[in-house]
Symmetry: C2
Subunit: 242 residues, 2 copies
């Protein structure tokens, strides 16, 4: 049973400001919550779950509060509330990210939360460890982004920063900008390291960032559609580069 | 100015039953409407547009009704209504689809409208002409699917049918089933023709359909995430096969 204050508090974590102030985020559903509970990178503060979930997860070592379906629906951000919701501390990554000998992603102005989460997920599939995002990308702790990552949020390090400054600082590493008139990625050698830059879907990569990139790359197409979804483009490029 | 009846009628086309009965669908936004107006495959029945759009599109030969922003918002299915909405006849494709010497897609139980539309779009990017869907896939004329195709709906032939029966009928053409434990697509030769089967994201391809497929294929991954989004998997496979 949740008090009114508890209800309000959990609901507030769906919004950016309260989330940032509390340094917490929420994650939902048995699969995602299980992954976060098992991750060495995550600290789950509280679990709100139906009796069914609690029964099926006897080994979980976390502070669990049993709630009913009606309460779950009130705190859930999913279209269909699903058994369990966890409140989790924002992830703190240890040490400095490594860029040599590996590929990293740079995302500029990816505003759709679904796209953002899906890009993190596909990055994880291909073993990418670091993703750097312009400050105007969708926030990684937005509930829609968290859900779309399907747990990859706990395995891929995501940071927000000025991408032009980032490229200037790390100009010893080659950067590849995904554009519509660049080199055919299917005919290039796999780069052993580098930054892959993905821009906003309708506007593409900004002129400033493009000016700083070393190589323009393109996914060759045959049809008439003007562009690819940003997450799909990321997946295709990684599948050829990794 | 729209009458109450007109308003109700256009709104009703957001739902499957009235849409099927009228044999019509709706499409929104300047880019998509412009593509459908220009497509030889589409017949636009009616355009509802703001004065601004009408002024910017003087050459359009269609029945146009000027409406105001408030009216547009009432009939729009977008989060942000955008200048114009068109009522379009469902597309009738002429002749028989050709499968020899080309790749086609088979989609089984793709239920998310955004995924469905994005798959059509990526198919179009790679020049795929034919997509066959199991009857429980999201409907292609669902407004969310139409918008996500970004105009590819007018260039890719989409049909709904029993996929097992389809494969049995066309068993002279090789079929490739996307699974998690198949042959590495990055090490295969590009097939000149064939059917690529994409299954439901959480359940994958049904046992029945899998039993009928010739080759199991897989996108090699490095990370820990269990699977890829269905639209991303489609894009990656096509980028290696086309």
């Amino acid at each position: 049973m949740l008090s009114k204050n508890q209800l309000k508090y959990i609901q507030s974590l769906g919004q950016k400001k309260p989330r940032d102030e509390a340094n917490l985020f929420i994650a939902e559903g048995p699969k995602l919550v299980k992954e976060l509970l098992a991750s060495p990178n995550c600290k789950v503060v509280q679990v709100y779950a139906l009796a069914e979930w609690i029964k099926n997860n006897p080994a979980v070592r976390a502070d669990i509060i049993e709630i009913n379906q009606q309460e779950l629906e009130k705190i859930s951000h999913l279209a269909t509330a699903h058994q369990v919701l966890a409140v989790v501390e924002k992830i703190k990554w240890k040490g400095e990210p490594q860029f040599h000998g590996t590929l990293s992603l740079l995302l500029e102005t990816i505003q759709d939360p679904g796209n953002m989460g899906t890009i993190i997920r596909v990055a994880d599939w291909f073993g990418i460890k670091n993703v750097f995002c312009s400050p105007d990308c969708a926030g990684i702790y937005n509930p829609k982004v968290v859900q779309a990552t399907m747990g990859s949020i706990a395995r891929v390090r995501i940071e927000y920063c000025s991408l032009p400054e980032f490229l200037k600082k790390h100009n010893d590493i080659r950067s590849y900008a995904a554009v519509l008139d660049g080199r055919d990625i299917t005919k290039m050698e796999k780069p052993g390291e580098g930054f892959i830059i993905i821009g906003n879907e309708s506007k593409g990569i900004s002129a400033e960032l493009l000016g700083l990139a070393n190589v323009r790359i393109t996914i060759p197409g045959k049809g008439n559609t003007e562009s690819l979804n940003a997450a799909i483009a990321t997946g295709i490029i990684l599948s050829h580069f990794v």
